[in-house]
Symmetry: C2
Subunit: 344 residues, 2 copies
């Protein structure tokens, strides 16, 4: 099928400002990068216009999602990875999706402080981003932020997030390679979570390798992955990324750096396995997740535009009063949006 209409262009003044900012970001101007990422986080029209210009330049970076349950040591591992990458002279960017709220201003973690030692290093860019309070927000924001950093020449981008529920699925969808971190023996409930996390893992890392039980945990995880293998070759549903092969399980001690060179080597193997970028199926899944998240943002904005606000509010109120069921309400909103209803 061809002949899709072209995308609308932004207004000229906005386009000029966006072009200026985008071009500055492309030269590695850190202030421009920081401003652009703030715009991305706030979903402004400037961010969109700039991304429209930057996006064709992106696609070369290796985007690595790093997720895992709280307490597994993700921030410490990210700090150790930065040190390892910089020792080899390569640039690296980090997007830390901070689950702390705007209310408290965000807890400052020890590792974040440690990362400030890279403040004078042009080849390290670290950015904390708040996860937006609605589903899908994380995927659109972190995906767009990664595209900006990718276009700006960072060829390794680490996206760190706490994940035990939906969020790691979103992050995995926006990453080329997903590293799932585990700590040794975190109790029954974590066992259950592991299963969900392992579904999205390309690499599994048991951190805190100096603790008793680390090797045993790694062995258990390998066994789980072998058991899961027949059905993990291809996930179900549009969010599930096809996984090329069974994930490797590594052991690290991020606090001492033990195992970190091996982890970086493994990441580089994943990239070398796909010298032209990630496999087509993974790239498609990633693109779809991103587009989907933005589509959700668009619809949300549209339903709150002045022309639709009253109808939206009336429909929601009818559901709140139990006069209308939420499925019928969703269909009404589709009509309010100008879409046609499906019969069935």
């Amino acid at each position: 099928m061809t002949g899709l209409p072209p995308a609308a262009s932004p207004p000229p003044a906005l386009a000029d400002r966006a072009a200026e900012l985008a071009d500055a970001a492309l030269t590695g101007d850190r202030r421009a990068l920081a401003r652009l990422l703030t715009a991305v986080e706030n979903r402004t029209p400037l961010a969109e216009a700039a991304l429209r210009r930057l996006y064709p330049q992106a696609g070369r970076a290796h985007v690595v999602g790093i997720t895992g349950p709280p307490g597994a040591g993700k921030s410490t591992l990210v700090a150790a990875l930065i040190a390892e990458v910089r020792a080899s002279g390569r640039p690296v960017a980090v997007i830390a999706v901070d689950p702390s709220s705007p209310i408290t201003g965000g807890a400052l973690l020890g590792d974040r402080v440690r990362m400030q030692s890279y403040a004078g290093d042009r080849d390290v860019f670290i950015r904390s981003m708040a996860s937006r309070g609605h589903a899908g927000g994380l995927a659109s924001t972190s995906g767009a932020a990664a595209a900006v950093l990718d276009a700006a020449g960072f060829d390794l981008i680490l996206v760190e997030t706490v994940g035990t529920g939906q969020s790691e699925v979103e992050v995995a969808a926006a990453a080329d390679t997903t590293v799932v971190l585990e700590a040794p023996e975190m109790g029954d409930e974590v066992q259950a979570i592991k299963a969900g996390l392992l579904e999205v893992a390309d690499l599994v890392v048991v951190n805190k390798g100096d603790r008793p039980g680390a090797q045993r945990t790694a062995a258990q995880l390998r066994a789980m992955l072998v058991a899961a293998a027949p059905r993990s070759a291809r996930g179900e549903g549009s969010d599930a990324r096809p996984r090329p092969k069974r994930p490797e399980v590594l052991v690290t001690t991020a606090s001492t750096g033990a195992g970190v060179p091996e982890l970086l080597a493994a990441l580089d193997r994943y990239r070398l396995a796909a010298p032209d970028g990630p496999a087509p199926a993974a790239r498609l899944a990633r693109a779809e997740a991103q587009v989907w998240a933005i589509l959700g943002d668009r619809l949300r904005d549209r339903l709150h535009e002045p022309a639709r606000r009253a109808a939206t509010a009336e429909t929601v109120a009818a559901v709140a009063d139990h006069q209308l069921d939420p499925y019928a309400a969703a269909d009404r909103l589709l009509q309010v949006l100008g879409g046609r209803r499906s019969d069935g």
Copy 2:
């Protein structure tokens, strides 16, 4: 504004089956309830048709979301709450949103096994639901499941989920009252998570109260909540629920039952504070979150219908190839859906 078109009716045969199932569920038929919840989980047309019939009967239950980081003891607390509620002769239903994957079949937790002792008790209904692998899925599924149990006469419904990222926001949006569980001293990273969780809390419970540090953790949490109070009166964005007042902080030891009667009493106070159901603003926010989640499901389905599949795939492929940026792609998909584009 009036004159919104009526919701489309389901086909007669489906409507008949749905009516039969819904009516059986209303009489408390457990097999009908179980079948209905399976239909809800699988998002079938039968579930929608049944919910259309049940929804007007719902709205009386107190839906309590119970969330918190892994290891805080949510399942044990839920088990203790069930025992406490049953001791007073009241019925109770539990929806446990299980983050474990379909791949491993779900880890069976000790507490889940313990809950099976209620298998013969008609006034206890416990249901595990897998969280769907896409953003928003949790809100639509758990909200619809709560509505079914509500209509069936369960006037206290506990929705248990692991939450550290997006998922607790979704669950909170679908609950009247949200209980956030914490364990004493779970380390730095958990501090950061706490901030995010506290935003959605009506009640904060420090569990494992027999451990050293429990009272100190409770005192710290109270201090955090006082500090956060000025801005927590009203959240920002459409998902954030307005909170009536600063959350109470309680201490429990779920494994022994200590503090659990006080927790139930606090929950009942929350309900008594709103004898006609939750505050209008909270009900609206809950309705909006539910409708929004279903709308997302609808659009996802529509974009994969035969008539649109090719255009959707072409658009996503263009993004994957970096020939089209994801914002422009989202606008194209809106056109594919039959919507009008917004200029700006």
